[in-house]
Amino acid sequence: MARDAETGSGDQESQKQLLAFRHGDLDAFETLFRQHQRAVYGWILRMVRNSGVAEELTVETFWRIYRAHARFEPARGFEGWARRIATHAALDWMRTVRTEDALRVEMAPDPEAPAAGDAAVAAEIREKTARAFERLPAKLRIAAVLALVEEQPHREVAEALGISAAAVKVRVFRALRLLRKDLERQGIRP
């Protein structure tokens, strides 16, 4: 009972926080920032795969969030809204930056690392796959990296991109088809 009352007052407190943020309260915004920055950063990192860029885009996302505070609907929750803004910030970044410069993927295996025999062939295939992926249009790349590499549920990817789950499946399928064509052009038959 006491726990229910505690949870209830916690919910009330967070609703108050969300309402205060909606009215532009900076303290409420800082509280929300502290609660959600890790999740937002992680989501962005999964898309851009570079920690420095993910930090910059997290700042950009929270700036956009604050700018849009009056349009925030507390009933729909903060996390999904923040994730959607973060996804669009990442998409804008992918569209403006030359992909081959930007997506020297920090988390990809090092192509310069010494390898011999089969390992060298495997490393070359990984490198070519990463390059082919970088050449995909940004909106296909985001859908594919979230749904296939990070295995996020289609419903969450759809919500973040502001499209339907069926449209996510279409984008993923198109990404795979383009990827296969590109790899075949490079002499790799997946």
């Binding site: 950063y41 920690s51 990984r126 590499v149």
Partner: protein
């Protein structure tokens, strides 16, 4: 593309771009950077945006009957 091809491509992709493990954290406190970003003045629109706006206003003044046509194509 059949299901087998699709699976192979997914595997290739996951080998080339390993998934992000766990719950990563930023390497620094980003709040000061957010505050700094909020204090920055918004960038001025480039000169050609102003030129375009001027041109459109000029056209609207010279040919007011073209305004509904222009709005239709917006």
């Amino acid at each position: 593309m059949n299901g087998h091809d699709e699976e192979r491509l997914k595997r290739l992709l996951r080998e080339a771009l390993p998934p992000v493990e766990g719950e990563p954290e930023p390497g620094r406190d980003l709040w000061p950077a957010v505050l700094k970003r909020m204090d920055e003045k918004p960038a001025m629109p480039p000169w050609f945006d102003w030129a375009l706006l001027g041109g459109l206003l000029g056209l609207a003044a010279l040919f007011p009957s073209a305004i509904p046509v222009f709005l239709y194509y917006l």
